[in-house]
């Protein structure tokens, strides 16, 4: 019997993998992918709650999260392209112009 808790623990594991990716990797593209992973784990939690409470609103919110994720990714990748054109690298350790 698969309960809500199974899905929530899986969602937590995916979220923490995303956190590890953001913390550990230094490639801007991979950091953006890890952010996508975190957003997807939240989607899984939303849909699981929607199913086990029997309320459709969780799935509506997943749609809005997808919209925000698409906007975030397009702007983030555009920033990555701009940074690469200017710096010649997307290693976030080398992108430190605005670091005091």
């Amino acid at each position: 019997m698969i309960t809500l808790q199974h899905y929530l623990v899986l969602s937590t594991a995916l979220f923490c993998l995303g956190v590890i990716g953001v913390m550990f990797r230094r490639n801007l593209i991979i950091i953006l992918i890890s952010l996508e992973l975190m957003l997807n784990s939240v989607n899984l939690a939303f849909v699981a709650f929607s199913r086990f409470i029997g309320n459709i609103e969780g799935q509506i919110f997943v749609l809005f999260i997808m919209v925000v994720a698409a906007a975030e990714v397009s702007v983030g990748l555009a920033i990555a392209v701009a940074v690469f054109k200017r710096q010649g690298t997307i290693n976030v350790n080398d992108v430190n112009i605005m670091k005091w």
Partner: protein
């Protein structure tokens, strides 16, 4: 039967997600992310959210990941960035430790989540997609329109950011920029 499918999909998703985080060539990361998305779409089908599952496949695995692939191929970025052993990497390991701690903390909380009883609005004879459409275009009409404005702003922002021609200064070409 449901349990077997759940565990198969969960293991598939978790292994793909681990490879997303650990592999070193960006192309491999993106391709394994597509596999993660497909596993999540399977879980959504298992949760009787067919519409979300299809949107997941079309929008995420189909569109967003292809955007990543295009940027990687366009900029010829498919070479692993050497992770240097310095103070920075020690800080990274500290971050990983914090993330693992966060997992145990969150999982301990999640094991005791029980949804509160909620008065269900039943939709007799409607499929999942029909229910979502009904709600989206009645109750959530205003957020839906705001989302379209957000997407428009993102399109304009992406075009403006990516087409701007900037002077290229290599890393350490003329010393660290201020």
């Amino acid at each position: 039967m449901e349990a077997v499918i759940f565990y198969a999909l969960a293991v598939f998703t978790l292994v793909s997600a681990t490879l997303v985080v650990t592999l070193h060539r960006p192309i491999h990361n993106v391709l394994f992310m597509v596999l993660t998305m497909i596993g999540l779409a399977g879980l959504f089908v298992l949760l009787r959210a067919e519409f979300i599952a299809m949107v997941q496949l079309v929008v995420y695995a189909g569109a967003i990941m292809v955007l990543f692939l295009f940027v990687i191929m366009l900029l010829n970025l498919d070479e692993p960035i050497v992770e240097r052993e310095d103070a920075q990497s020690r800080r990274s390991w500290f971050g990983v430790a914090i993330a693992v701690y966060l997992f145990f903390l969150l999982a301990a909380v999640m094991l005791y989540v029980y949804p509160a009883p909620y008065e269900n609005v039943s939709y007799p004879g409607l499929t999942n997609t029909q229910i979502i459409a009904k709600e989206l275009f009645t109750t959530y009409l205003l957020p839906f329109e705001v989302a379209s404005i957000l997407l428009l702003a993102a399109i304009v922002g992406a075009v403006v950011l990516a087409k701007k021609v900037t002077r290229r200064v290599g890393p350490g070409a003329d010393g660290p920029a201020l």
